[in-house]
């Protein structure tokens, strides 16, 4: 394989990997606060894309994206308040099933609000055919947008959870809800807030990936499955790990395509997930001792 070809495979891996990574980060926020995985996260991604696409004819792109993020965040808040917030002592099975139900509802709502057709946002920079040349290989400039948003999200989230009072309060809720409540933290508000933030981040992801992946009402679940995989491989709750795992998975997939039929690409990704879950459920980038504190 020529070096140019190798670089081209790496770049195509980075393209799909960056999409996986940005979707994965959204899962981590709710997980960090509540310890639950939101199975409807993929639908937040879809909603963000769909809303921005509907708004873009009426306003400049940045405004459409911003508005889509706000609207999706509001949907996230409403969903949490309506379906989760008032439950007393919900069981983990119950939460899994509620978020699965929520994902079905959001998807069906999107089908009936819009329709079954495929849409996409315009490329943020350049057009469909613009590409950047790196060492003889090519990559779409949109990939840099996705990576940029990933990077910004990781930095901002770590600042938020590490430095701000609210962020620390959210983490406290996850570590020990009772102690957090005793310290005067309103746990319920923190959980709602985590849904708002992750819905907003999901929507932002939906907007930046839309030019690459296109958006339609059913696109949430496949993105979410890849997102889950990446979030788990990177270590749940660990956003830096998610980005690394996303890029890694993208690149592994790209090279797997180079040597075997593409039909097996998804089987490889899922096998990695199963292997990681079975033998190292803390994820690849978390030390075992830290992971030992978690429940699986």
């Amino acid at each position: 394989m020529s070096s140019e070809l190798i670089i081209q495979y790496i770049l195509s891996g980075v393209t799909s990997g960056s999409v996986y990574a940005i979707v994965a980060i959204g899962f981590n926020i709710i997980y960090n606060t509540t310890g639950i995985i939101n199975f409807a996260q993929g639908e937040f991604v879809m909603l963000g894309g769909m809303i921005a696409i509907s708004l873009v004819p009426f306003m400049p792109l940045p405004m459409a994206v911003a508005l889509a993020v706000v609207i999706t965040a509001a949907v996230g808040a409403l969903a949490q308040i309506a379906f989760i917030r008032w439950l007393k002592r919900p069981h983990v099975l119950q939460l899994i099933i509620i978020t699965i139900g929520l994902s079905i509802l959001l998807r069906e709502a999107a089908l009936h609000i819009w329709d079954e057709k495929v849409r996409s946002l315009p490329y943020f920079t350049g057009t469909v055919v613009t590409s950047v040349r790196i060492f003889g290989a090519y990559v779409s400039p949109q990939v840099f947008w996705v990576l940029g948003v990933c990077g910004a999200a990781v930095v901002l989230l770590s600042l938020f959870f590490g430095r701000t009072l609210i962020g620390q309060a959210m983490r406290a809720c996850s570590a020990d809800p009772l102690a957090a409540t005793l310290c005067g933290i309103n746990q319920k508000n923190m959980v709602t807030l985590s849904f708002v933030i992750s819905a907003a981040l999901g929507a932002l992801a939906g907007c930046v990936v839309s030019p690459i992946t296109q958006t339609h009402y059913e696109c949430g679940t496949p993105l979410a499955i890849k997102g889950f995989t990446v979030a788990i491989v990177g270590g749940l709750g660990n956003s830096t790990g998610a980005v690394a795992a996303g890029l890694l998975l993208g690149i592994i997939e790209a090279f797997s395509i180079s040597i075997m039929p593409m039909a097996y690409k998804d089987i490889i990704a899922i096998s990695i997930l199963l292997a990681v879950l079975s033998y190292r459920p803390t994820g690849l980038f978390v030390r075992r001792e830290v992971g030992a504190l978690k429940e699986f």
């Binding site: 394989m1 992946t213 395509i257």
Partner: protein, 380 residues
């Protein structure tokens, strides 16, 4: 006196009976994937079917009877399609069933409808639906093999020999890939590489990279999904500049719009519906195509696609046969399989007891994309 009264009563009874017969509507079942993974096919087909039945009823019905459309959404799930087909056949005792739009569902219904002696006019592409011929099973989309032949002929003209093939993992993609592989030797085409991608694929840069490494002279992509606009985008993004051929699945202007500039120059076979306005005035299909296009676009406020056309053809064939045969089911089937010269959206149908599709490769025109619109490739 008495006999006159009897005549009057008899006449009244006969009148009532014939009146009742007249008023009883013809039930036509329709099974389409209106939502779900094959909604790209099923939704326009369902809309078209509703539109046609409405217009036929407004014009006084078929053979003096109104038509009632019983539409079921199968969500591309064969088990549901089977359940609905049994329901339509046994409970509603429908006259005929149109759809489904995927070959998987159609094949599951083939024996079912044939055993129940109910006409099934499938809107799916795979040739196995009518080969072997089942007496009661028909299909309206053009043959995959004819699409492949048109593509290969064009390649021969362009001197292209070594190609790469991509297809989605749907029934449509699999059937097309099989035909591409079968017919390649006949046209001296060498398929250097064939790859299958998931229908929900979101980025195909890696697979086009792999194909580029094979030094092919052209790429053929066979699918019905959004991937049809992702492939051209990704090819252009990695500066892979060989001609791209697509299947008749590309016959939906939305995919052109999604692919933007990258769609320019894509060559694909399709029915003439998409270029109705560009056809010469003496083209036999022009009138039918323009009318369907105008009706559909005014009513649903969206561009027509060839998939809706398959439902149009199914109903046009059925209505024509009922008109010819009267209300009898067996006679209708005979009339259906002896239909000749019926102008549909996919082409001109000439059926026979051994050919339950009735289209030949002239049903396809080679089209290409110029300035974001479909144009005839031959005119280029």
């Amino acid at each position: 006196m008495f006999s006159r009264a009897l005549v009057v009563v008899l006449a009244a009874v006969v009148g009532l009976v014939s009146c009742a017969q007249q008023e009883e509507p013809i039930k036509v079942g329709a099974i389409f994937s209106v939502t779900g993974p094959a909604s790209f096919l099923g939704a326009p087909a369902a809309r078209t079917a509703q539109m046609m039945v409405d217009s036929v009823n407004a014009a006084g019905g078929i053979a003096g009877r109104q038509v009632r459309l019983l539409l079921r959404d199968s969500v591309a799930d064969p088990q549901r399609a089977i359940s609905f087909a049994r329901q339509l056949i046994e409970e509603e005792e429908v006259f005929a069933i149109i759809g489904p739009s995927t070959s998987g569902e159609s094949m599951q219904l083939k024996s079912l409808c044939n055993d129940a002696q109910t006409i099934l006019i499938s809107c799916a592409a795979a040739e196995t639906i009518v080969d072997p011929v089942a007496p009661y099973v028909f299909k309206t989309p053009q043959k995959d093999s004819d699409a492949v032949r048109r593509i290969y002929e064009t390649m021969n003209d362009l001197g292209i020999q070594r190609i790469g093939v991509t297809a989605s993992n749907t029934g449509f993609g699999a059937a097309g890939r099989a035909q591409l592989e079968t017919l390649a030797p006949e046209y001296g085409i060498d398929i250097a590489i064939a790859e299958v991608y998931d229908r929900a694929a979101t980025d195909l840069t890696a697979v086009v990279t792999k194909i580029r490494a094979e030094n092919v002279e052209a790429v053929v992509n066979w699918s019905i999904e959004p991937a049809q606009s992702i492939i051209p985008r990704n090819m252009r993004q990695i500066a892979f500049d060989v001609p791209l051929f697509q299947s008749h699945g590309f016959g939906n202007i939305q995919y052109v719009r999604e692919a933007g500039e990258a769609a320019e120059g894509i060559i694909f076979p399709a029915g003439r519906l998409l270029v109705a306005d560009l056809l010469p005035d003496d083209h036999p299909q022009k009138e039918v195509l323009q009318k369907y296009k105008a009706d559909y676009e005014t009513r649903f406020n969206e561009e027509v696609s060839t998939f809706g056309g398959h439902a149009y053809d199914a109903l046009a064939l059925l209505f024509n046969a009922i008109e010819v045969a009267g209300g009898d089911r067996e006679a209708t089937r005979d009339a259906l399989q002896n239909t000749t010269g019926l102008v549909g959206t996919a082409g001109i149908f000439n059926l026979s007891p051994t050919d339950h599709n009735g289209l030949d490769k002239d049903a396809f025109a080679m089209l290409t994309v110029r300035d974001g619109a479909f144009v005839l490739y031959e005119q280029e």
